[in-house]
């Protein structure tokens, strides 16, 4: 040993460990902010965020290593400069939500670095004053502090992820309740039900809904009737061409939908199925089939064969074995497949747009889209209809949540 205990060599205060990870993350977010400011063409914001990006990266590079005390001094100065620049910017500009948020991503990391490096264990470690007793108590303290700091960081990230998902939803709900047909305006500044009244009061919305319901339920039924026996056969029987056909199923899934659009259209035209629900039901069932079959096959695989053999010995026919034993056990997967087929049909846009040329046969997504390009766009009506269309989807997800999770994790864990 070289006189320094193993604790001293290993010890890095929790604060420093956190800064090592989070300063680059903060810098990355500042890089995104640079991009956003370029799009918004705000020179001031651009300059500040570029400066922030550079400052945070430099701060990361200057983070103390516990041996060179000058690094701490330099890092302190840099952090202080970052805080000052961010605060000055906060006072100098008008405070929109975005500006406030983007400045926080400079002020907060720099501020916390400044604080941690000036007082407390990290400060004394950074100035090189650590002996082995301090290092050992520091290691013990790390065990307590580190999980809390990490959890705080993780939740900050998750909040950002949630915001990315939920802001558009809040926005569209706000538009649907805002008077007039405008996209801007602050959230919750005015309230009206006029868009809902005009959408739900008119006849075309209900016509589209009827079409969508028929197509979605039809697709679900036809899809399940095809996918369940197919999945079972793929799972249990070893027939000629089994591997080949499973591969082809996968292959079909790999092509982008646009490639099959034209052949589909010609087939439907020949069969006289354009502008009909049946045409769409057939197209959707077939498109969703590979995934449904693969999902169900995976689940059927996880049903032990011994169960089927026991049922055979108990006097069941092969068909009875299937619907008395295998099917009841596979309900989560069947529910999930049903939900998947329903949603795929409910949300599908391109095929429905191409196959249906008359307003009479529009499904909801096509109908909604038709509200946008006409002269004098009806953003409010569009938003209201979008909200209404999403409600069944949301309800179904909530209702099937348990089955969905079971279905998704099936096969992964064997009980």
């Amino acid at each position: 040993m070289n006189g320094q205990g193993i604790a001293v060599r290993w010890y890095v205060p929790a604060e420093i460990q956190v800064l090592r990870v989070w300063l680059p993350v903060a810098a990355l977010i500042n890089a995104f902010i640079v991009g956003a400011e370029v799009l918004r063409a705000r020179e001031h914001g651009m300059l500040l965020s570029v400066a922030g990006l550079a400052a945070l990266l430099l701060l990361r590079a200057l983070l103390p290593d516990g041996r060179l005390p000058w690094k701490r001094t330099a890092a302190l100065a840099l952090a202080a400069a970052g805080v000052l620049a961010g605060l000055w910017s906060l006072f100098a500009i008008e405070l929109s939500f975005f500006n406030f948020w983007s400045n926080t991503w400079l002020v907060f990391p720099a501020g916390i670095a400044l604080y941690w490096l000036s007082v407390g264990p990290a400060a004394s470690w950074a100035s090189g004053a650590s002996d082995s007793a301090a290092a050992e108590s520091g290691l013990a303290r790390n065990k307590q502090v580190l999980p809390r700091l990490e959890s705080f960081g993780l939740h900050t990230l998750l909040l950002h992820a949630i915001a990315v998902v939920i802001v558009p939803v809040i926005w569209i709900i706000d538009i649907s309740f805002s008077p007039g047909n405008v996209l801007g305006g602050a959230i919750g500044d005015a309230f009206t039900l006029e868009h809902y009244e005009s959408m739900l009061g008119g006849s075309q919305f209900w016509l589209w809904t009827r079409n969508s319901v028929i197509v979605a339920i039809g697709t679900t039924i036809v899809g399940l009737l095809l996918a369940i026996p197919a999945g079972y056969a793929f799972s249990r029987y070893d027939f000629a061409g089994r591997k080949g056909s499973m591969f082809v199923f996968m292959l079909v899934q790999m092509f982008p939908g646009a490639i099959i659009l034209v052949p589909y259209f010609m087939v439907m035209k020949t069969l006289g199925l354009l502008n009909t629900s049946i045409g769409l039901i057939i197209a959707y069932s077939v498109t969703a089939l590979p995934l449904c079959v693969w999902m169900l096959k995976g689940f059927f695989d996880s049903v032990p064969r011994a169960l089927e053999e026991a049922a055979l010995l108990d006097g069941c026919t092969q068909v009875e074995v299937f619907y008395r034993i295998v099917l009841p056990l596979s309900l989560p997967a069947v529910a999930m497949t049903a939900l998947f087929s329903f949603l795929a049909a409910w949300n599908e846009f391109v095929l429905a747009l191409v196959f249906n040329t008359s307003n009479e046969s529009y499904t909801l997504p096509v109908g909604l889209a038709s509200l946008i390009p006409t002269v004098g766009q009806q953003w409010g009506d569009f938003a209201a209809a979008s909200v209404v269309v999403s409600i069944p989807v949301v309800i179904m997800f909530i209702a099937f949540q348990r089955a969905l999770i079971q279905g998704l994790s099936a096969g992964a864990v064997k009980g």
């Binding site: 053999e309 026991a310 006097g315």
Partner: protein, 353 residues
């Protein structure tokens, strides 16, 4: 009549594996037969052919004198206990027990009162009263096992099939269930075919055992007969723990030679001439004061009530079992000691193969 007869029964899988090769085996009515062998030997295949879960390639299987080759599994009137129990997870214990009775067709149909009576009977016999309303996943391993046995028995099967039923239980429960299974068999007297790779289960449970290796029947005999007079060296080494000592060599005028090792043969084997495999059980190896063969103690496994001695002479290793109550090896010899050992005991055997 519910005897079972395999005649020239052969199973060859699509990939060419000969799982079972011309099996000849008769199981008498009311008999408990254990199919014993190492894993992959074909014993499970034999059971699955009998159950109707797989098709016979050639030969015949008869149950109660009737050829069942082409009868579907459900029509053969069998009950089966699976290794994994295969209880229907979505049904309560009661539904599991009733399921087979409700599926019975034609002349085998069972009316409601009879179903209730049989379920009650099985419940009582297997002590499942508290569990009837529960789902299988809420039961302990031992209870699941009993439900599986109950489900097979309520059908009043002509033959009860068991496929390694105890292998999923811990050692303690396994011993208890082994006793239970034997007790049930004595109560019911149902013809039973029991597949296992565990020789202790086979020895303790069965009236007769059929030892199978490489798809071929090696010996079909009462457990002790198979133990005392193994038909070949495989049976000899497979039955018994520790395994029988086998020494390959050549006999000439009452002396057996294997490389540097040579020893006198017991009287009943003295007439043997030419090559063979000499076998002696570890508990029969004797220490003698004079004569015998000089062996070195290479190591001792002390298990408390008994000890296993590893003895070496002329490059050959044999095991000897010492028992505290005086069985086997006569005294507790020390490690690295040299002993005079006699292998010329009345229970020794010589195999041709």
């Amino acid at each position: 009549m519910s005897d079972v007869e395999f005649s020239k029964t052969t199973k060859i899988y699509d990939d060419g594996t000969h799982a079972l090769d011309s099996l000849e085996l008769k199981i008498n009515e009311g008999e408990f037969l254990a199919l014993l062998g190492p894993s992959g030997c074909g014993k499970s295949t034999a059971l699955r052919l009998l159950a109707g879960l797989e098709d016979i390639t050639s030969g015949e299987i008869r149950i109660g004198g009737e050829r069942v080759n082409d009868l579907p599994a459900g029509a053969r009137g069998l009950g089966m206990v699976f290794q994994s129990y295969a209880l229907y997870p979505h049904m309560s214990v009661r539904d599991n027990l009733e399921f087979g009775l409700r599926r019975a067709k034609g002349g085998m149909r069972v009316d409601e009162a009879e179903i209730a009576r049989r379920v009650d009977e099985a419940t009582e016999m297997l002590d499942l009263g508290m569990a009837l309303g529960k789902k299988p996943k809420d039961l302990s391993g031992g209870q699941q096992q009993r439900v599986a046995i109950g489900r097979a028995l309520v059908r009043r099967p002509k033959v009860l099939l068991m496929d390694e039923p105890l292998s999923n239980l811990d050692a303690k429960l396994r011993n208890r269930m082994r006793f239970e299974i034997r007790r049930l068999h004595e109560m019911h007297g149902t013809t039973t075919v029991y597949v296992t790779h565990d020789q202790i289960e086979a020895m303790t449970l069965a009236d007769r055992i059929a030892i199978i290796a490489d798809g071929k029947l090696q010996q079909h005999a009462k457990p002790l007969d198979a133990y005392n007079q193994p038909a070949n060296s495989f049976v000899g080494s497979f039955l018994g723990t520790p395994a029988m000592n086998l020494v390959e060599g050549e006999a000439h005028n009452g002396v057996f030679r294997a490389g540097d090792l040579s020893f006198d043969l017991p009287e009943h084997l003295a007439g043997w001439q030419g090559p063979g495999i000499f076998g002696v059980r570890p508990e029969d190896v004797r220490i003698v004061d004079s004569g015998g063969t000089r062996f070195r103690v290479g190591g001792v496994e002390r298990l408390g009530g008994e000890a296993i001695y590893h003895l070496e002479a002329g490059g050959h290793w044999i095991k000897a079992l010492w028992h505290r109550s005086g069985g086997g090896l006569s005294s507790a010899a020390e490690d690295h000691a040299e002993l005079n050992v006699s292998l010329a005991v009345p229970t020794a055997v010589i195999f041709e193969d």
